[in-house]
């Protein structure tokens, strides 16, 4: 049993040894390796100035090709990973508070002065401090690779999703297909995690996730095809631009409802949280994951949540269009949080479906309805409504 004082002593001793050994690492790198390779590095003065003065910092970043307009910055920070992780963190707190309010509880309250706003950060430190337990009979390689793959999948989803006419990482002719192709990897990751855990609850959870995938993936793709027919393009930016007059949720209401249901199913949220049903399967395919492994898997799921809500906003709610008193990005974020709210809300009130009910829903109802939606789109285009 380690007391808090022991913990502090351990951290301080690690710091002491790091400081003591740092010249051994720093001197050869700075005075032998860097002059030999001919890389130019910022001097200490430049670096310290950049830490204090943001404008100097941006100049220094521009000099080394990682400034705000570079591709690296786009991927790592603003429309890309860090922004998505920030939204995901906000979503976690928002979800807990919203469900608590719906169920007449208070939710997280103590971390932070106001209404527990620092709860995600407290959770992060808790997860960082926990021990990572790998089961003895687990397949070590796959067990370690699943959290990394999960976070990689979440980050890859963001590559083509635009936030406003100018803010995007990459633009492509077929940018609508790319997120769907990347989502196709997620059952593979779930199966790898479930199999590598060598735990029966995890394994049953993985098999259930696969059944769920087979039931909803086809209606998900077909429900989006109606939007493609109406806008005549697979490029997300031109799909949004063709909604300047009418948002596609009005002519494509059925498609929007089907896409909403499949989002719930893809994210394994109530009422479709069959793969990780807490009351039956401990925690489904996540059962054996602890500490930061679990944190990375959850972060991957919530980044996927952000990406799919953003996709719904872009496809059906007119993306960044709105009255001109707010900038496009603000409209997009307002609509995004509206979608996140309606995705969260069923968790507060709905019971869980059984797996056979879900499969019946997917194969019997959703596929047929999505084909009907496709015909509605064709009729609307040929009558010239849109």
């Amino acid at each position: 049993m380690e007391t808090f004082e022991d913990f502090l002593k351990r951290i301080l001793s690690i710091l002491f040894w790091l400081l003591l050994l740092s010249p051994v690492i720093i001197f050869p790198v700075f005075f032998l390796l860097i002059p030999l390779l001919g890389i130019s590095v910022p001097t200490t003065n430049e670096f310290l100035t950049a830490l204090i003065d943001p404008i100097k910092g941006i100049q220094l970043a521009n000099k080394y090709g990682v400034g705000p307009s570079s591709t690296f910055f786009k991927i790592a920070a603003f429309p890309g990973f860090t922004f998505a992780a920030l939204i995901a963190t906000i979503t976690i707190l928002y979800e807990r508070k919203l469900i608590a309010k719906v169920q007449l509880r208070v939710g997280p309250l103590y971390a932070g002065r106001f209404e527990g706003v620092l709860q995600p950060i407290a959770d992060l430190f808790k997860l960082l401090g926990k021990e990572i337990v790998v089961p003895e009979k687990a397949d070590k390689f796959f067990f370690w690779s699943a959290p990394i793959l999960s976070i990689g999948l979440g980050a890859a989803l963001l590559a083509v999703l635009p936030l406003s006419p100018n803010i995007y990482i990459a633009r492509s002719d077929v940018s609508l297909l790319i997120p769907f192709a990347i989502i196709g990897f997620s059952p593979l990751i779930v199966l790898i995690a479930a199999w590598a855990s060598s735990n029966k609850f995890a394994f049953i959870g993985g098999l259930r996730a696969l059944h769920q995938l087979v039931a909803y993936e086809i209606p998900m793709l077909i429900s989006v095809l109606g939007v493609v027919i109406l806008s005549g393009s697979l490029d997300l930016i031109s799909i949004v631009e063709s909604q300047q007059q009418v948002w596609f949720i009005f002519p494509q209401l059925l498609g929007a409802i089907i896409f909403y249901i499949t989002i719930l199913s893809e994210l394994e949220r109530v009422p479709f949280d069959i793969p990780e049903a807490e009351t039956e399967l401990v925690s489904g395919w996540l059962t054996e994951y602890t500490g930061m492994h679990f944190g990375l898997l959850q972060l991957g799921v919530y980044i996927k949540f952000y990406a799919l809500s953003l996709l719904f906003t872009l496809l059906f709610l007119g993306g960044w269009y709105g009255p001109a008193f707010l900038p496009p990005l603000a409209w997009l974020l307002i609509k995004l949080f509206f979608v996140i709210t309606i995705v969260i809300l069923p968790r507060a009130v709905m019971p869980r479906l059984r797996i056979d009910q879900l499969i019946r829903l997917g194969w019997v109802w959703l596929i047929v309805l999505s084909f009907i939606n496709l015909f509605i789109a064709v009729i609307e285009v040929s009558l010239g409504v849109i």
Binding site: D139, D173, L177, G184, F185, P187, L188, G206, L207, L210
Partner: protein, 161 residues
Amino acid sequence: MVFLVISLVTLIAAILSLESRELVYGAVALALSFLGVAAIFILLDALYLAMFQILVYIGSISVLIIFVIMLVRREKWSTIKSGNERIVGIVTALTFFLVIGYVSYNSGLSNIITPNSSIPDFYDIGIQMINDYWLILEVTGLVLAVSVIGALTMAKIERKN
């Protein structure tokens, strides 16, 4: 250079998928080699084709293969036969691909001149499919429908027994 790395990864993953003793490793290696093929499509500027390669081959086929592997007992299948049969197999495959490669290298394929216009996108694929190849498209659809109905009938018969 990029092409070399991608094709090396694809080939190694393909060999691994045949040779690995753990069947799940083999299935994941198969998915990796499908991904390599998709990357080669991207190098050829066929992004549309690459996305469908990922959707169909990784999203459904390799997932189904892993599904089947997990349901089937391991001991039955993991005996890899060694000795003569493997050598015969390798020699046959090598001869086959050498002959095919020789024939296609010496045919007119290597000096076809493509029209220097822009890269065909998915609009062109759709127009071609509807105008020139509509018969093949409909026959394919018919075959798929027949196979789905057949599978359903077989499932019902098995449930009755």
